[in-house]
């Protein structure tokens, strides 16, 4: 008999008949690779687990406490940075308007009305410009191109949402 079936028996690790055992014993005396495989099988079967040094649970509790403390510090630092940034941004944005505090109520009212009417007229102008462009473009841009543009926009939107979700899951699972 050649080498292959003996190696297969050793790899399968299934019970052998007494005749197969005798054949295998005879083969092992002449085949070093199979002998090594059999020895490895035995060594793996009798291998015992190793235990950690005493006090593993206590060390885990300490590590958990340290991790929590670090997490708390990170959260505090994050909150602090966020608050400082928000206050800074608010002050930066509010600075031009702070002068109102020193103006009469009528001046402040007039400034507000002027600003609002400026925003309103700008929006109206943008809307008109957009409708003119669309009207002109619809004349020479074919329908399938519009469909393609909207489909691509939708696809990119979906891709963005999917990648965002995946990234969020990865961060959560890390």
């Amino acid at each position: 008999m050649n080498h292959r079936p003996f190696e297969d028996w050793l790899l399968a690790e299934e019970p052998l008949t007494s005749e197969q055992k005798t054949d295998l014993q005879a083969h092992l005396r002449i085949c070093q690779p199979c002998m090594a495989l059999a020895e490895v099988n035995v060594a793996l079967r009798v291998a015992k687990p190793v235990a950690p040094d005493p006090g593993f649970s206590t060390r885990f509790q300490s590590r958990l406490a340290a991790r929590r403390s670090a997490q708390r510090r990170r959260n505090l630092m994050g909150t602090f940075i966020l608050v400082v940034s928000a206050v800074g941004l608010f002050l930066w944005l509010a600075l031009p308007f702070l002068q109102w505090a020193f103006q009469s109520p009528m001046d402040v009212f007039i400034t507000w009305i002027t600003t609002l009417s400026l925003i309103f007229t700008s929006l109206l102008a943008y809307g008109k410009a957009g409708s003119v462009i669309l009207h002109v473009a619809s004349g020479f841009v074919p329908l399938y191109l519009w469909v393609a543009v909207f489909a691509l926009t939708g696809l990119f939107g979906l891709l963005w949402v999917a990648s965002f979700r995946k990234f969020a899951n990865l961060t959560e699972g890390a």
């Binding site: 055992k21 040094d53 885990f60």
Partner: protein, 199 residues
């Protein structure tokens, strides 16, 4: 509800004492897996601690229909595989011999000191050759032989197909045998003429 399931449910409700019980019960299996995977006691201690931390952080995701041991050992195996891959990139040799070995659990049936010494030597040899395996093959071998995981359980734990696990186990054992033969050519020859291993 078993005592273990009770601890798990309490841990999921934020009871640290209950999780400490789980750590006490599973410290040896998790540490042993990490030690067999990483080969060094310090790295194994660190990996085992980190595995428990990850289990603690993700305890709410544990599906109570699954075995807790399988879930926990799967976390440890994945962590060790990642660590071995990172280690390969930082080109730290894993073949360096270290004199330190962690405490092996005593064999109550070992009455013959010579046989025990021979067994220890054989186990050290096995520990050395296992370190030559690829990270995933190593995990498959450890889960199969130290934890009696079925091929299906190994596949679930390592996110592989059952056929991939079978082929990895065969390949890994062939590789182990080859290394085993290379490590002890003389001893092997002497033994091969006189005795055969038990089946």
């Amino acid at each position: 509800v078993t005592e273990e399931m009770d601890w798990i449910i309490q841990s999921q409700q934020g009871n640290d004492e209950a999780f400490a019980q789980l750590v006490a019960v599973y410290q040896t299996p998790v540490y042993n897996l990490c030690y067999r995977m990483l080969g060094e006691p310090e790295a194994a201690e660190d990996a085992a601690q980190e595995s428990f931390l990850r289990a603690y952080q993700n305890i709410l995701r544990y599906d109570q229909q699954r075995s807790f041991a399988t879930w926990l050992l799967s976390i440890a195996a994945h962590y060790c595989i990642d660590r071995l891959r990172r280690r390969r990139f930082t080109s730290i040799s894993i073949d360096d011999d270290d004199d330190e070995h962690p405490m092996e659990l005593p064999d109550q049936s070992a009455l013959n000191p010579e046989a025990e010494a021979a067994r220890r030597e054989e186990q050290e040899q096995l520990h050395k050759v296992i370190r030559s395996l690829d990270a995933t093959d190593r995990a498959a071998i450890v889960l199969r032989y130290w934890y009696d995981f079925s091929e299906v359980e190994i596949a679930e734990s390592l996110s592989l197909t059952v056929s991939a696990v079978k082929s990895r186990l065969h390949r890994a054992r062939r590789e182990l045998a080859k290394r085993w033969q290379e490590e002890q050519p003389r001893t092997h020859l002497e033994r091969s003429h006189h005795e055969s291993p038990a089946f």
